[in-house]
Symmetry: C2
Subunit: 294 residues, 2 copies
DNA sequence: TCCGATGTACTCATTCCGAGTATAAACTGG
DNA sequence: CCAGTTTATACTCGGAATGAGTACATCGGA
C-alpha cells in the first residue's frame, strides 16, 4: 500500500483452504496481517481494501466482510504508553479467496490457522496444547468460582461441550491469564494481530452455520467430501458424513454437474457446483422464534 | 459532546422498549441519531461512547456493541460531491438501556422504530404500507427476474416467508428502487441515519434469537408475558404463548422471585428475574453442524 | 355472577438431528 | 484375479425440538 497521511488503517484477515488446512495470508514471515492506510482516492472502505488485495494476490476476493474497528488504545492493553499515532483508527476485515498462490514478490505466506492457535484443531484428537492450557487455567482460576465457570464454559472442561465458535473469547481469557506469550501455545504475531485473526476465525466459524459462505472457498466444482473437508478444516471439528450429506441436499444449495471426480483413492464421486442465484440460502435452519399462527 | 478536531465520529443506536413499543433515542425532533467526535482522552471507543451516553441519558448502558464503520463516501451515495470532511470515519454502535426517560434538557426523544419503518411491524396485521411497497416494487422489478427474486425473498411475496431480520436489506432495496423518500413510508432522518438505524434493528432482531440480550431491556423482575411482549416488540412478530414459555424455561435463563405481579387485568402472574452469572446462555439452540462421535 | 383477560399445564403430530448400518464402486498389492 | 482398502451413497431408527392446539385456573370488573 502506498503510504500517506491517512485517517485510518485497514487490516485484512484473508482466508483460504488448501490441503485440508485453513490458511491465512501473512507478511513478515508470518508475523503480521496485511494492512495499510485507507486511500481516500477510492470510493469506499470496501472498495479500497478490495483493490489493494487484488493487486497483492492477483486474485479477486470473493467475499469481504467488516470485522471490527479499534482505536489505538483498544489495541495493546499491555503497553500503556501513548504512541505518536494515538487515536488512530484501525478497521479490520475478513476476506475469503479461492486460491492461495500470491502473485507478490514472494513475501506473502499462507500459514495454517492452527500454527497460531494449535488448541483450536479438534479434527483428529484433542490437542496436547489444550490439555496443558486447561491445566494452567485451572491453577489460574484457583479458588475463584467465576473464573472457573468461564474456563469450563470456554474450554469445554468437565461436562461442558467444546464450542468451536469461541476462538476470540478463549484467546482473550488466555491473554488475561498471561498464557499467550508462551511459545508452545502458538506462533506469535506483532501487536494485536493475533487477536484480530482470532476475531476473523470466530466470525467465519459462526457464519458457515447459517450462510453459504463456504462456497466462496471452494473451486468451481467439487465433491461432497471435499466440501465436508473444507467445513471441517474451518470448524476444527470432524463431521458425520451421512448426516452432512443429508443436510447439504436438504438445503438445495448445490447441483450435479454430471461429471465425476478422477480417482482420489476410492470410488469416483459426483462433482457438484454451487447453485448461483441462491441468495435466499441459509446453510442450516437458523434459530427460530416460536411464532403464532394467523 | 464537545467539538474538536476528531479523527472519527461515533454514532449510537440506543434502544429501549416501553409500552410494547421498541424505541430509539433521537435528537432534533426525531431527525438524527445521537453522535459526536471520538474523544481521545478516554481509553477506548467503547468507553468514550459509554461515558457520553450516560451523561446524556442519566442511565447506564447495559449493553453496547459495535455495528459498522463507514467512510464518508460510503454514507450518502446520492450526493457524489466531496465534502470538506471527505474521508472521515463514522463508527456506529448499538446500545440497550432499561429506561427511556432522558435526563437531558428535553431534547432527546424516544420514537418507536416503526415510525421510521412502518412496514416492519407485523404484530397485529400486515401493514398497509408493506402492501403498497410490494406493489411498487413489483413494478420496479418488471421484467427482471433477478430483481423479482430479491423482492420476493426480502419482502415475503408469494410463498416466501417474511424474515424479520432483513430490515437493512429491505431498506437498501427500497433505496435502490427510490422509495425511501416517500413520506408515507416512514419518518425521514438526516443523512444516512435511517440506514444506521436499520442496521441496528437487524442486528438486534438476529441477536435475540441466540443470545440473552433481551434481558438488558427488561426491568429487574418481570412476568413471562412482559418478556414475550418485549420480544414481540423487537421482532415485530406475534409469538405463540405456550411455546414461548416452554422455550424460556428449557433455556433455564430465569428464576422465580417468589413474588406475584399486581393485577394487570387478569390473573396475577409470577415475577421472574434473570439468572445472573449465566454466561454460557444461548436463547435458542443455535445452528448446529452434524458432528461425528469421537 | 358471569365475562373477559390473563396465567399455566398439558397433548399430539411432524420435523429435525444424532447415530449407526449396509451396499456400491473404484484402486492396490500380492 | 482376489483380498483388502478407500471412498461414495442409500438407508433405518430413536430421541429431541418444534408447531399447533386444548383444557383449566384465577383474577378484576360490569
Amino acid at each position: 500500500m502506498p503510504t500517506g497521511l491517512a485517517p485510518a488503517e485497514l487490516i485484512a484477515v484473508l482466508a483460504a483452504v488448501t490441503d485440508d488446512q485453513p490458511r491465512v495470508m501473512t507478511l513478515r514471515g508470518g508475523e503480521a496481517l496485511p494492512s495499510g492506510p485507507f486511500e481516500t482516492s477510492h470510493r469506499s472502505l470496501q472498495q479500497s481494501l478490495r483493490a489493494w488485495i487484488e493487486r497483492q494476490t492477483g486474485h479477486p476476493v470473493g467475499y469481504l466482510e467488516q470485522l471490527y474497528t479499534f482505536a489505538d488504545k483498544d489495541r495493546d492493553p499491555r503497553s500503556g504508553e501513548l504512541t505518536e499515532e494515538a487515536g488512530r483508527i484501525s478497521i479490520s476485515y475478513l476476506g475469503l479467496v479461492r486460491e492461495q498462490d500470491a502473485a507478490g514478490i514472494g513475501r506473502p505466506a499462507w500459514y495454517s490457522w492452527y500454527s497460531f492457535f494449535p488448541w483450536e484443531d479438534h479434527r483428529d484428537r484433542v490437542p496436547d496444547e489444550l490439555v496443558e492450557i486447561t491445566d494452567r487455567l485451572g491453577v489460574w482460576a484457583q479458588d475463584d468460582p467465576v473464573r472457573h465457570q468461564r474456563v469450563d464454559y470456554l474450554f469445554g472442561v468437565g461436562d461442558k461441550a467444546w464450542n468451536e465458535e469461541l476462538v476470540l473469547q478463549r484467546y482473550e481469557l488466555m491473554y488475561e491469564a498471561g498464557l499467550v506469550d508462551a511459545p508452545q501455545f502458538g506462533r506469535p504475531m506483532q501487536g494485536d494481530n493475533r487477536r484480530i485473526l482470532a476475531t476473523g476465525i470466530s466470525r467465519l466459524r459462526a457464519k458457515i452455520k447459517y450462510s453459504p459462505v463456504v462456497f466462496e472457498l471452494m473451486p468451481e466444482s467439487f465433491t461432497l467430501l471435499q466440501l465436508q473437508r473444507t467445513v471441517e478444516a474451518l470448524s476444527g471439528l470432524r463431521l458425520h458424513k451421512p448426516n452432512f450429506r443429508r443436510q447439504i441436499d436438504q438445503q438445495n444449495l448445490i447441483e450435479d454437474t454430471g461429471e465425476m471426480s478422477s480417482g482420489t483413492g476410492g470410488r469416483p464421486a459426483r462433482l457438484f457446483r454451487f447453485r448461483t442465484a441462491i441468495l435466499e440460502a441459509r446453510m442450516l435452519s437458523g434459530a427460530r422464534l416460536p411464532l403464532s399462527r394467523s
